[in-house]
Amino acid sequence: MLMPPAALEALLFAAGEPFQKKQLSKLLDISLEQLDTVIGVLGRSLKDHGLTLIVTDTDVELRTAPEASDIVKKLHEDELARDLGKGSLETLAVIAYQTGGADVECSGTSRGEIDWVRGVNSSASIRTLLLRGIIEGREDEHDKRRVRYSLTTEALAHLGITRTADLPRFDELQDSTRAIVKEKEITDAPTI
């Protein structure tokens, strides 16, 4: 069995954002007082580690240690200065061409559609594009759990266009892309 401090660490890590103490005590099935003890134990065990706990009256959060700020900053600079690369460009292209055009019925592209067209998992690419402000996600009107991605206005400006329909070979490439997406709807069935 996992000790409470380790369980707390796993929860905070997977959450990625501040976690309410109230909610944590429920999840871990301990009292708020016990939780404070557990937070103390975890905090001390993170000494000499690259992570640290930020604790307020109501919340707890796992963060990179302040001593690591230089190297983490270097990482982000590195990430932002880098070329997008093949995977992210393909992902962006699917979003750009699949979205928009004459019929505005289809606003944005879902992750499942991108994965399907590319034939590989695109989570990492979507993450990169989001972090760089090139795409943004919006809740699907029909399915609240699904997010649809589209290009940001900054990205359009960078490309020197006002709408994606101005992209080269737009009609042709959009038709092919949408035909592939249709295929998905037909075969969206049992796991293989």
Partner: protein, 247 residues
């Protein structure tokens, strides 16, 4: 076996799907045998009945099953008539099949191990913090690189979907395979008939009924019996002196 015909290549494998190797191993395991010539010879009829009962394999899978049937029939024939001379290619097919089955046995075990643990202890990635959006484009982001990227993706899909077509060429019917083999076996039998005198008379009988069996299967009569996958062998070489029941 629950096999439904499916429209698209990438949907072939339903949960109940049995590949040709799997069928061979199931048949061998049902007889508590190890993978060797003897075992392969003993499951040949069952395997073929099975293939014949499946009218709805996707075309490419049928090729796999028929090619495997052909190799099994060779092994069977050789076990009945040791004098049957196999070509170098045929021998290579047989040893290749045995190696693949040995490998596949391991894969089956490995698959069982993975099925046991897959998804049981999930390890989650770090949660994504809502990004503070600030725009950071790159040098490789332009209208042209985007169009190229999408064209590349579309082209890659097309080549993937064209691939399976090339394999269908080798398609032959199981009847052709049986015909050819029946002729070979009959030929070998005539040539070496004198070897089968005396106490070997029993063997002649076995071979003759094997040929009769090939003929029956060709006509579809045996297949009409619809074997249960793990069911009894109604026709084996020990019982083959009696004509299989049908009708």
């Amino acid at each position: 076996m629950n096999q439904t015909p499916l429209k698209l290549n990438f949907n072939i494998q339903t949960e109940a799907y049995h590949g040709p190797f799997e069928l061979v191993l199931d048949l061998i395991e049902a007889r508590k045998l190890l993978v060797n010539d003897l075992a392969l010879a003993s499951i040949t009829e069952d395997f073929i009945s099975h293939v014949r009962a499946q009218a709805t394999f996707p075309i490419e899978e049928t090729t796999n099953f028929i090619q495997l049937s052909a190799t099994l029939l060779l092994i069977k024939s050789k076990s009945l008539i040791p004098d049957l001379i196999l070509s170098e290619e045929e021998n290579a097919d047989i040893s290749d099949l045995k190696r693949r089955l040995e490998a596949y046995e391991k894969v089956r075990e490995a698959t069982r191990e993975l099925a046991r643990i897959f998804g049981k202890s999930l390890m989650l990635p770090a949660g994504i913090r809502a990004p503070e959006p600030f725009f950071a484009p790159s040098r490789d982001l332009s209208q042209d690189t985007l169009a190229e990227a999408l064209a590349r993706v579309i082209a890659a899909r097309e080549t993937v979907e064209e691939l399976p077509e090339a394999r269908v060429k080798s398609l032959v019917s199981i009847e052709e395979v049986m015909d050819k083999l029946a002729k070979r076996v009959q030929g070998a039998l005539t040539l070496s008939f004198k070897d089968f005198a005396g106490d070997k008379g029993e063997k002649v009988e076995i071979i003759v009924s094997f040929l009769a069996l090939l003929e029956l299967m060709k006509q579809g009569t045996v297949a009409a019996e619809q074997y249960h996958q793990h069911g009894d062998i109604r026709i084996s070489h020990t019982a083959s002196a009696s004509v299989p029941r049908y009708g």
